[in-house]
Symmetry: C2
Subunit: 243 residues, 2 copies
DNA sequence: TCACAGTACCTGATACTCTCGGTCTCGTGA
DNA sequence: TCACGAGACCGAGAGTATCAGGTACTGTGA
């Protein structure tokens, strides 16, 4: 039998896919140029179209933000994976990943903040949280209420972090024999570590000895891998990879 | 005559200080109850007053957010400092601090997000960033443009993080002989680590073996102190404090 | 089979609604 | 006089609705 598909809609499938990707590219460029608080009107103008067209392809600003994050993650995913594969030890893999991450922060801070600082200048959905429903439940609802869920990969930050965490967990899991939950928890912490140190560095670098990005990369990778214990036992240790 | 003028001025100074503190308390309660996306109208209503009164004592929402963050930090500062002093080793101090931090995340997630997730639902100041002004400069401007500066303690997140970082840096500096910049960079990473793991845990805890907060505290402290190297060399190691 | 009306989707401009941060005006009381 | 507080007001930006014109597909009846 013939499954008749209405061509009036399907004839636009390729067009829709291409148009959507085009809008994501334009949005990313607009964010890079105009800052993370760019408005939808500005994004539409940068794409050479009108706001209503942007809303034809994305449900709302959060949807566009998610698409931009996915594009960033796809690009970054490849770089992180290549860096990890090129290293000969788990520690080396970690160092390369720290480098890639810090390079991204430095090269395109606007896009980084757009993706990781959810809803600056936006009005993304939120709803009241009833207090008293139990601590854990309240914590989950608070996260969901903010439209920021680090768990489900249905928000920009969640998707962004989950993808990066998955990659970062690999050297830890490779070096140790721990459960996947532990590896993910460590990776989440590690990503947080790089973020914390990287963002601090951006804000404090001047007048404080001027750590270069390479110096920070080395330190962060060392601290992540061996913690203060490593500094204690071998303050001048580079890496075991170079021995 | 001049004495009475000074007296009147002093009386109003005390009133202003008290009124301000009262508004901060009310705001904090409103955030706790209604969520981090609470509006200024809602905060004013919770304080039993009108919005224009809130704006009499705070320049804008960011100013109120900063005041709430300062109140949180003051309370947390004491708990973190007490925890650090009660521990006999730097590692123990770090573990206690991780515990305090995770307890706060769990007990008052709405306030935590209000302070650390800048500008959810808000329109805090931003201005365009000229691309091409050099990478470092652009990065700084991007941060400043977002109203989120991790450096200067004139924003909620900056003040919040700097205060916590300063405390967390202490065990590291005590255990090692590194520069204060390195200690601060490590502490920034460590705070990020706790945030990353804690926020991940809130979003992923269900169905993943159910790490309790205590279990997470132990793991985070261990990973922060010894990294994967510590797990490799002594997977079941508790702490040196218990030797 | 083919012509044609109907249908679906595209575009962009423009007007509109709503929320919320922030501002202004005015009356009151010490 | 001056600080207070209530309530009206303003504007930015997210999101929605309407319009007209164009292209291509679909279904129907001759």
């Amino acid at each position: 039998m013939s499954v008749s598909v209405d061509g009036r809609s399907t004839r636009w499938d390729d067009h829709r896919t291409a148009r959507r990707a085009e809008l994501v590219r334009a949005a990313r460029k607009a964010v890079h140029k105009l800052g993370p608080a760019v408005s939808m009107d500005e994004i539409a103008a940068a794409a050479g179209t009108s706001k209503s067209i942007v809303y034809r392809y994305f449900d709302d600003k959060a949807g566009l933000r998610l698409a931009v994050a996915e594009a960033v993650v796809r690009q970054m995913h490849d770089a992180l994976r290549d860096a990890a594969r090129a290293a000969r030890t788990p520690e080396g893999a970690l160092r390369e990943m720290v480098r890639v991450y810090l390079e991204m922060i430095e090269s395109s801070p606007n896009v980084y903040w757009f993706v990781t600082r959810t809803a600056i200048g936006g009005n993304e959905p939120s709803s009241p949280v009833e207090v008293g429903a139990g601590r854990r439940r309240a914590a989950e609802q608070a996260l969901e209420a903010t439209g920021v869920s680090v768990g489900p990969a249905d928000t920009p930050l969640g998707a962004y972090l989950d993808s990066v965490i998955e990659l970062v967990a690999e050297p830890f899991a490779r070096a140790t024999d721990v459960s996947s939950a532990d590896a993910a928890a460590w990776a989440a912490g590690a990503v947080g570590f790089v973020r914390g140190a990287g963002e601090w560095w951006l804000g404090h670098d001047l007048g404080l000895g001027g750590l270069s990005r390479e110096e920070l990369t080395e330190r962060v990778a060392l601290w992540l891998w061996t913690g203060p214990v490593g500094v204690l036992h071998n303050p001048n240790s580079r890496t075991e990879e170079h021995r």
